[in-house]
Amino acid sequence: MNAAAQMRRPRVAPAPPDMLSRPRALWLFGLLALLFVVLLGRSLHLQWFDNDFLQGQGAARSSRAMEIPAHRGRIVDRFGDALAISTPVKSLWAFPDQLGATPAEMAALATILDTTPQKLAARLKADEDFAFLARGLAPETAERAMALRIKGLNEQNEYRRYYPGGEVTAHIVGFTGDQDRGQEGMELSQQAWLGGAPGSRRVVINRRGDVVEDVAAIRAPRAGRDLALSIDSRLQYLAFRELKAAVEAQKADAGGLVVLDAHSGEILALANWPTYNPNSRNKVARDKMRNRALTDTFEPGSTMKPFTIATALEAGIVRPDTVIHTEAGALTIGPNTIHDAHPAGPLTVEQVIQKSSNVGAAKIGLQLPPATLWTMFSEAGFGTPPATGFPGEVSGRLRAAKTWKPIEQATMSYGHGLSVNLVQMARAYTIFATDGELKPVTLLKTDGPVAGRPVIKPETARAVRHMLELAAQPGGTAPKAQVPGYRVGGKTGTARKNEGGQYTHAYVSSFVGLAPASNPRLIVAVMLDNPKAGDYYGGTVAGPVFAAVMGGALRLLAVPTDAPVDNVVLPPPGADIKEET
């Protein structure tokens, strides 16, 4: 058994020559064990101590911060009809050097975007770093463009603001600029209310990119809130239409019209001309964007006279039937002389308003201490901003009483030497429309009647209201302000424009009135700047606008009539309507 002997032989060998010696084996074991310790130590270190980096990397692959868009609130009129509304749109953009579009793809894209490849190329050339290929696209259009799968073409979600009212409500609502922030009008002043704050949250996504778990809300989104204005869209349109027609017919430079709710002080309509379209305002002059009724002042002229008379009635100096001698139409104070263009004989206080006598108003005003007259003007809201919540509204100018010279006191009695804006004027007339209360005016919707601040006694308010009614009748300065079916009262104003301290030959024609006179519901104030069609008297130029707007508004609001429908009595044709400037 040679083989067997051979096989057995190694077993009996004392120590195979390739076997490790004992100390070497120990060495090796120690080395391997040390390596394990190092590995274990490293993993422990990563797990417990230096874990930020790896956890961050892991999170980046499975969790994301997701932006939650927030909507800007709508602006609606008093009935909830939208005047400004945001809808989502998409914009297409690219880094020009990374856009890998073939000419065929560019042509297809141009067709979808309703433009030409040349125009697209020009846009890409305009800025080397970043270019918008299209902005404010309807989501469906953007989807079709993205379906072309052009390399390097990206889309971006945006909101676009639309103004259904267009030029009719442009001045009140205003508009938003970049990033949906308010830039003009109520959009600007109510930014905090309207604007939403986009939120952000951390989510876990699976490998398909679907959100599978909400980890944490980083920032809760806050949606913008809707804003209800006091505007009545129907009256706003009526006011706008009539004002526009009047400005064009009278060849005036500009015009303004305010309709005020006499009970609540809400501005139901506020129209300006010229205007602009807020939906496409690329080349609109800043001038057209001004809300003149609130941001521009003018010398009111005779529309101030009722306040002088009311002060005198309150002070007990005159009664409505007190006779004032109008000095044959000229009153000299120092070096200055006040004129009535149409001299009349003695007039009662009522007739001073009815005929709008400057001399009469000045003589009554001069009997009052300056401080008393100033207090009345100030209490009626002149010299302080109307506080409608509109940005940039002005306060007008009413100088302190102690600086008044007698001639200035006389001219202020009939509305010269001070300045007002149209909304202030309309607000001031609330003291005659109510029983002597000045109502706070607002552009925001309010519920129900609002308490005002008493300024004059109810008897005084009623007496002046009667005088205003006389002025809007034959024999007064504004028979054209009459409205079928309603008793109206109002006062004309015709003032020469003062430019740089000099009175020019341009006029501001205005009319402020209220109706129904038995229980006034509305106040309408109209102002036309520099009518050049021949007429410039407030009664002739602004009176008919007042009648059209007041008549239409009362009918739309279904206010009960307080006169027979055949109440309008016009003076015979050719009769001179006497009015002072």
């Binding site: 009809d81 009719v168 778990e213 869209s233 009960p560």
Partner: protein, 91 residues
């Protein structure tokens, strides 16, 4: 002692499995919630577009133009208006 260990082990396995299923359930519900939220946003957008459309179609300027031009309507003159007081109506 061994028996207690075995029971505890079974309980542990049960807990672990229920955690897995409830976790899965939660994720499924969450996916559904996100989908519903997206749907809600979609409706909101649509509502905005529709109310924009309504406002645009219903603008008084447009209504008047159609009434005057297409329908040949005109406001009644003062003589053709009769004011009717509702019986018992308080103004």
């Amino acid at each position: 002692m061994t028996r207690v260990s075995v029971i505890l082990l079974l309980v542990l396995i049960g807990c672990a499995l229920s955690l897995v299923t409830s976790r899965h359930h939660a994720r499924r519900l969450f996916v559904e919630l996100t989908r519903e939220q997206a749907q809600a946003r979609q409706y909101e957008t649509e509502y905005g577009q529709l109310s924009l459309e309504q406002s645009t179609w219903g603008m008084p300027a447009r209504v008047e133009k159609i009434a005057r031009e297409a329908l040949r309507m005109q406001p009644p003159g003062p003589g053709r208006v009769e004011v009717v007081e509702l019986p018992g109506a308080t103004r």
